[in-house]
């Protein structure tokens, strides 16, 4: 349950120094594109922040988002911040099970009505009254509506919760939808990605803790600080794109030389995320650096935007048969037109004769 201990007290109890805490504040402010002058304010606000109750709902998902956020091979300040929230309900991480788990969710909702945060990962099936995914006898749809009712805000974690993701991909057998398709009266922050970058969610939570506000969002409800620029504009391979140097296959000389992966289907130009800046695994690398093009996983309907290995210049369908048919029809109509024209000519000649 949410405690009255402040973040400052909590961190000091865990042995985090003042210097370390300020470094975290500076890094967070930088990530969120806040001005340098805001660091002391951020630190002061975080120091005094109270532990918020968080209810994490997992619906149609693969647990990759939870893995992304929680997997860490070394304790980090971001991890401590994440520990600091009162995670009152999360299937994968909580000790309670069955009725006790559901009772914990209901208790958290009751005790923190209007103040708790809801994190959702996974899409919500709505076809056939949402029977395709249930927890404790309740459909995901019922649980979301019930839990969102008294929430302060909702964080849609991962592309499934934010946009419907893979469950919504054609032909979408369960009628999967995003959180924002169901909840209309609460602030919703989308943190998409398959999975999302851990530092993005800690940044969003840090801002909420420090200032009690939610970050500025883009057209898809994503924090602009992290999703404001596309991967291509921040990619270290961009100079090769400008010079027209592309890898043609994944093992050719261009690929070995680190040339641009655009021809191999990289979706960096139309994908907004912080991968090229923050990178993954403690800033070690990101997919393009590892030699694979971006698949655009933080964009709506990324699974249905044509092949992952088709370049953006290609259409999203197979053109062959249709064009041959169009040519055949064109030839037939052309022959017909010519025959009609010749008949008219003959008639005119006869009249003239």
């Amino acid at each position: 349950m949410a405690s009255n201990m402040t973040l400052g007290e909590s961190l000091r109890r865990r042995g985090v120094s003042r210097r370390g805490f300020l470094k975290f504040c500076a890094a967070t402010a930088s990530m969120m594109a806040l001005p340098p002058g805001s660091v002391p304010a951020l630190a002061a606000a975080l120091e005094k922040a109270r532990r918020p109750s968080v209810i994490w709902l997992s619906f149609q998902e693969c647990t990759g988002c939870a893995e992304s956020i929680t997997r860490a091979d070394a304790p980090t300040l971001e991890g401590l911040i994440f520990d600091y929230i009162s995670l009152d309900y999360q299937h994968t991480l909580m000790a309670a099970a069955g009725d006790a788990a559901e009772a914990a969710r209901e208790a958290a909702m009751h005790e923190n009505a209007g103040k708790y945060l809801v994190i959702v990962d996974g899409s919500i099936p709505v076809k056939d009254d949402g029977i395709y995914s249930t927890i404790a006898g309740m459909t995901n749809l019922q649980i979301l509506k019930d839990t969102a009712k008294d929430a302060a805000a909702i964080i849609s974690l991962g592309s499934c919760a934010a946009f419907g993701g893979i469950p919504k991909a054609n032909p979408n057998p369960t009628g999967a939808v995003a959180v924002s398709d169901i909840v209309k009266d609460k602030p919703i922050i989308n943190v998409p990605g398959c999975p999302p970058i851990p530092v993005v969610i800690t940044g969003v939570i840090a801002q909420y803790l420090a200032f009690g506000t939610l970050p500025e969002l883009d057209v898809h409800g994503r924090p602009k600080a992290f999703f404001g620029q596309n991967i291509h504009d921040r990619c270290y391979r961009r100079p090769f794109y400008e010079r027209g140097l592309f890898a043609e296959t994944f093992d050719d000389e261009g690929a070995k030389a680190g040339w641009c992966l655009w021809k191999l289907g990289c979706k960096g130009p139309i994908t907004y995320n912080a991968c090229a800046v923050t990178k993954w695994n403690f800033g070690t690398s990101f997919p393009i650096q590892a030699g694979h093009g971006c698949i655009g996983c933080s964009e709506p309907d990324f699974w249905d935007k044509g092949g992952f290995y088709e370049p953006l210049a290609a259409g999203t369908y197979a053109p062959g048969a249709g064009l041959v048919s169009a040519a055949a029809v064109g030839v037939a109509v052309g022959v017909g037109s010519a025959v009609l024209a010749r008949n008219s000519q003959k008639a005119l000649h006869k009249e003239g004769a």
Partner: protein, 219 residues
């Protein structure tokens, strides 16, 4: 469905179908159409040579007219050459043709193509101004010319805007969608307007040469 998804999907598919249908319709209809029947005896005999010669002679200005049509002639050449570079030597465009045709060819660096695109736009604007102000050009210009001018300059401008999206402040995917849609308009208009000259220009000149040979005229 986003604008880009629409552009890369249904819009591209239907515009290509209309273009291919229209091109084959007009080409087959034109080539199978029986031309004017001459009742007199032919005065010449080398019809093929005459046709080929006319293709060549009509490709540069007659020396008696060179001074008056110099600007239009050379800017026309410049425009076509730079447009060729933009369409066929820009790597993303080559990838489009690879998707469409199944084969590709080497391209040029982006900066070189951007320069060619700027020249294309400048030349098209200059030719457009001349068309709008020159009395003779005005008298032979109709809506087809202006529509053809518009659907030609449109994709070049939108393509440059997509390239410079950071400076314009519009999202790249939206500009790319608009660019592809402008190309779709071009595809749809190609068979039905004067842009069909890309297929009929040389056959037309050949036919003129052949006819002049029939009449014993050297041109």
């Amino acid at each position: 469905m986003s604008l880009l998804d629409f552009a890369r999907g249904p819009a591209l598919e239907w515009s290509l179908l209309i273009m291919v249908f229209g091109i084959f319709w007009r080409l087959v209809g034109t080539f199978l159409f029986k031309g004017q029947v001459y009742l007199s005896k032919p005065k010449g005999t080398r019809f093929v040579a005459a046709g080929l010669r006319t293709i060549a002679t009509r490709s540069w200005p007659d020396e008696r007219l060179e001074r008056t049509i110099r600007f239009q002639h050379y800017s026309g050449y410049l425009f076509h050459i730079t447009l060729f570079i933009v369409i066929f030597l820009f790597e993303p465009h080559i990838e489009f043709f690879k998707w469409l045709l199944g084969f590709s060819w080497p391209g040029l660096p982006t900066n070189a193509v951007t320069f060619a695109a700027a020249v294309t736009v400048a030349t098209l604007i200059a030719l457009g101004i001349r068309r709008a102000t020159n009395p003779i050009m005005k008298s032979i210009t109709n809506a087809d010319d202006w529509l053809s001018w518009l659907v030609t300059i449109g994709p070049v401008v939108t393509g440059m805007m997509a390239f410079a999206h950071q400076n314009i402040g519009i999202r790249y995917e939206d500009l790319l969608g608009i660019h592809i849609l402008s190309v779709c308009l071009l595809f749809i208009w190609i068979p039905f307007g004067k842009l069909m000259h890309m297929f009929l220009l040389f056959p037309g000149r050949y036919q003129i040469g052949e006819k002049f040979e029939f009449r014993g005229v050297r041109a």
